[in-house]
């Protein structure tokens, strides 16, 4: 309790938020749904900071699909999970439906998930495979958009400046015949911090044998969620085969750095990750969700 921030500033417009950030950004901690931040503040004894509550800013809760798909930073996980406008981004909907329990999903936001930059953030692998760009706004600098892959700098570190607010995320158009999915490994079927989370988007070749395009991203096995470009490169244009999938798994293992933690051992993560990759590719090819939760 003694470490909790002493002040709470609630803003009701983006302009107000930007003005606060411009003036006091360094000492302000931005609070949206608070499902990560409030746990951290209660448990970790973080330095007392002031909270800037942005949950009530109107206009940041929309999902727009005119040409580009845009997701407001305050869109909640549950909103995304249930949004039929995101049907082309099945992996994102699947991931959002598996962030914590429904209480977390009802208030936790996509913007929060992105800025929090947890190594285990479920929504980040799907955003990465859909070449998401993060829109940041500030009073002095206007607006800029950064590729998510560049926005994430490390474990819980991002390119956000103290005076900036993440206002939304845009997704690239999904490849026309592409199919995507998010496969999450947890010991239970829900309310797990991912042991491994992998998003895949595969465009099968018109010949039915080759992989025209493959995009892969993974979380919980490296300091921050990331694309697996090396594996994608290996598979692109190749004919699908057991040998190719084996090799893909091996290359993947060279580019991730799983650790032992209370949720799973390094050994388990290393064993399961290549299997999840295979499973995800197979699900994309068969165009099924592949969700490991029982009812799917």
């Amino acid at each position: 309790m003694s470490q909790m921030p002493k002040q709470f500033i609630s803003v009701s417009s983006q302009e107000e938020a930007l003005a606060q950030l411009d003036a006091h950004g360094e000492e302000l901690q931005i609070l949206a749904g608070g499902t990560d931040l409030m746990v951290q503040l209660q448990q970790s004894g973080q330095r007392a900071q002031r909270l800037l509550h942005i949950e009530n800013i109107p206009g940041l809760r929309n999902i727009t699909c005119n040409g580009v798909t845009g997701i407001g930073a305050l869109c909640t996980h549950r909103q995304i999970a249930e949004s039929t406008s995101l049907d082309n981004y099945r992996s994102l909907r699947q991931a959002a439906a598996q962030v914590g329990g429904w209480q977390t999903q009802m208030v936790g936001t996509i913007g929060g998930n992105v800025v929090n930059a947890s190594p285990a953030a479920d929504t980040l692998p799907p955003l990465l495979i859909h070449n998401a760009r993060v829109t940041l706004v500030s009073q002095s600098g206007g607006s800029r958009a950064v590729e998510l892959g560049r926005f994430l700098l490390g474990r819980r570190q991002t390119d956000r400046r103290h005076d900036e607010l993440v206002s939304g995320i845009t997704l690239a158009r999904r490849p026309e015949r592409g199919r995507d999915c998010y496969i999450k490994v947890g010991r239970r079927s829900a309310t797990e911090v991912a042991i491994v989370g992998l998003a895949a988007c595969v465009t099968p070749g018109r010949d039915g044998r080759t992989l025209e395009d493959v995009r892969l991203a993974i979380c919980s096995v490296c300091p921050m969620p990331k694309r697996l470009y090396e594996v994608e490169h290996l598979m692109q244009g190749e004919e699908i085969s057991e040998a190719l999938l084996e090799e893909a798994g091996e290359i993947m293992l060279k580019h991730i750095d799983p650790i032992d933690d209370v949720r799973a051992s390094k050994r388990y993560r290393s064993m399961v990750a290549p299997r999840v990759l295979k499973h995800a590719i197979a699900c994309c090819i068969e165009n099924v969700s592949g969700d490991l939760r029982p009812w799917n």
Partner: protein, 155 residues
């Protein structure tokens, strides 16, 4: 700092420091102890209340974030006539044992049923992923929801 909000339909005005959780304010300042503290990390769901109709873990929700909001807690469910239909269904199905998780389950289900009045069993189970019951093994809670839905559609 001043917090003004409505709890179970009543306007409340409180003086806070700014860092309090909604759970602590409900339990300590308003003596609404029906909302329970099970983990303080948003894992068990015993502290679930509705904030503008959304089910939130009040242990990790800042009270000040509820400024001007409508809060519903377990104390607001029963009306003058007695238990509401969902509460009755819990009693009749044996969905209550030790009862410590019960308020959280009721509030989560209230939010669910508001949006999905006829949830199938899989949806109910999914929606309860943030609520832990250590006593019942869940079967009679799921049955209570089914009973409530059935009785309500019979009305």
């Amino acid at each position: 700092m001043e917090l003004i909000f409505r709890v179970n339909g009543r306007s409340e005005r409180l003086e806070l420091q700014g860092h309090e959780t909604l759970l602590d304010v409900l339990r300590n300042d308003l003596c609404l102890t029906g909302t329970k503290d099970g983990c303080r990390e948003g894992e068990c769901g015993a502290c679930t209340v509705l904030v503008n109709g959304r089910a939130v873990d009040s242990c990790i929700y800042a009270a000040m974030a509820a400024y001007d909001a409508d809060i519903e807690t377990v104390e607001g469910l029963a009306k003058n006539a007695g238990l509401n239909s969902l509460q009755n269904a819990f009693a009749e199905s044996g969905g209550v044992q030790c009862g410590f998780c019960t308020p959280g389950f009721l509030m989560m289900l209230t939010a669910l049923l508001d949006k999905y009045p006829h949830p199938d069993r899989d949806l109910v189970r999914d929606a309860l992923s943030g609520n832990i019951c250590r006593c019942t093994g869940y079967a009679q809670i799921e049955e209570a929801v089914a009973r409530h839905v059935e009785q309500r559609s019979g009305e």
